[in-house]
Amino acid sequence: MSVAPKRDDYDVVVIGAGPAGLAAAATSAGAGLTTLMLDENIGPGGQVFRAISSTPVTDRNQLGADYWVGSDLVQALRASNAEVIQRATVWSLDRNLDIAVSIGGASAFVRAKRVILATGALERPFPIPGWTLPGVMTAGAAQTMLKSSALVPDGRTVIAGQGPLLWLLAAQILRLGGRIDRILDTTERGNYVAALPHAFAFLTSPYFAKGLSMMREVKAKVQVVSGVTELAAAGDGQLASVSYVAGGKRETIPADLLLLHQGVVPNVNLAMAAGVEHRWDDLQLCWSPVLDVSGNSSVAGIAIAGDGAGIGGANAAVVRGRIAARAAVESLAPAAAAKLPAMAALRSDLAKAERGRVFLDTLFRPAPQFRIPKGDTIVCRCEEVTAKDVLDSVAIGATGPNQLKAYRRTGMGPCQGRLCGLTVTELMAQARGKTPQEIGYYRLRAPVKPITLAELAAVPKSEADVKAVVRG
């Protein structure tokens, strides 16, 4: 079933139906703006509320109360007049706010007066030796299977990495009866000290009590090794073992499944391809868009909300979505904006939702050895380029990620740099003694997600072409 957009032009197009997008679209449509929501997944929810309308998991405790908040947001969107299209992959957005979207194998073009990007986050690459072996996957992929199909691991399972989502996933797997043999915590010991000055804010954050009880719940059932400083996966064509060093001692354990996670970073591909300016965030160690207080980017008409605007978590995402939508309403229908919650109130909600974020960012700042690989470790999976290959290219004159393409084709494969971009930037920055900001990032281009030649060939042609055919 394919549903094309009903109109060619909308006041607001929201891209992504995670917490920020759901809140933004409901706000914008509720204020009377013609609003189109385009979302890639089968149902609304994004990653954090994935499968919120369809999950087979019915015991609310298993996925946790925070997950079910998503159903209220979906209700609000459905109660509004927003046009919602699922399985809609936006593959191009430009500075004229022209959007190309693929729906059910056919592409359509729409134009917006305002675009709110709510494309969320991606898992940070975790390039350790052996990370490309079958049997090694990201925690996020495991969580997707768990939420949409209630699938949990039953073989020998190791989870390695750090960050709040790692503990959440572990708790969810255990509650659903899955198996975890060991958790390898890679949080740097020094981070606890560095985070301490920010601890007070975190103590008053709603995440604190929940996080603590989740960690207790997991630690009661699984052996947790902390202070892991080295990590490698090994096996002949398939994961067989995981080896690690903790407290100076090396250990190797057999494993069928290794789940890796060291936090999430903004999913910047669509925004960058549209020409939105980004800056390197030295605390979160990723690229974040340059935004004003209402989420407006450097490209007129494009606002960004949610984790795509800088990692802030689901609660902050909801408020950022409302702020971006309110700003759109203020500019397109000022009279309707008066009925919405005041901007000042929204900003104070945001401050509350973001409380404790610096503590989390500092505590869970991934260690250099897990971000910047060495030797034969693969950096670019699409083109099988190793860390050494990158350094060799730097030695003969590659100065940044875009120049590196000429030497190694990094970032030119189907993933468009999603799996290697941050690694390449940091690796080259380190090798050249520059900051990541100075080194820069891949120039990204549409299609942001691949489309088939047949689909592009079937696109309605420009007016000039159509006229030529009619006359012909």
Partner: protein, 373 residues
Amino acid sequence: MTTNVDAIVIGGGIHGCSTTLHLCLAGLKPVLIEKDYAGRHASGVNAGGVRQLARHIPEIPLSIRSMGIWERINDLLDDDCSFESYGQVLVAENEEELAVCRARVAELNALGFTHEELIDAAELRRLVPAVAETCPGGVVSRRDGAANPAQTTTAFRRKAEQLGATVREGVAANNIRYGDGLWSVDVGTETFAAPVLVNAAGAWAGRIAADLGEPVPVETVAPMLMITSRVPHFIDPVVILRGRKLSFKQFKNGTVLIGGGHLATPYQDRNETVLDWKSLATSAQTVFELFPVMRSATIVRAWAGIEAKMKDDIPVFGPSSRHRGLYHQFGFSLHGFQLGPGAGAVMAELIVNGGTQTRIGDLGIDRFHPSTL
């Protein structure tokens, strides 16, 4: 502080880099100034076609000169530039187009050029087995081929630097001026001075020429390209169409590059282009019709490079008609990549020897401004 050098080359595209390298080979000490980085624009992101086929007659001698250099590019640069030579084929889609091809080849033969060869349907099918059966023939230039444009431009730049060129990237050339027999250019906090200035600034060259009193009919364009995911090997030569806008090339790794000259909107001052997907859809449709094997391939990326296009579609190449020591090398109008190696060699001859054996007379800026020198 002013640094004196033998020549100042503005623009780090393949032309500026090649000229810089050839000046080094002639024993000069040039400086190369590039506002972004070498190969940032058209030279690094074009289709990589190494083509003598279907060229304007005035630039054929330069193209042939260049071809000789391409064939031993590794000796020159210590880099193979991923150059490969499986020929380029121009496909006629009907008898009318084939008649045009026949006349063209006859015209070239009369002028003494033999690189283009008329082929019938059988030879076309042998060279390009995947092409639609309805095509009656075309033209082949068998020594032609393709190279990796970013790799090539980077290799020229690298070799030039190894041979003693000074390279300044990431800073624009400002305040170009002439006095006491020397051209001076400010580059950030530095100033360079030399008796020779080469304007190889691509899409930005027209402004430099105009500022120096030699405006030419040139516009900035951004031809679009797109590349597919890997598909099984099915084609060796580069294929271009006689009638419709399409060029087509499969690389060793299986990816297929689709071009043909549909234009994006350039935003030159921001180094940006906005793609026109409806035009790209036309290219996709042409490929869909001609190469059924491509129908399930996916488009992975599309882009456009900013470059200069002359109203008469041939470059501005040679000495200034107004100023001593000034040379122009721009306006290659979507087909400058293959010319790069040869144009650098010829430009170095013009600068060092005051002349060249390669026939370039029709390419001079004096076609717009009669010489006052």
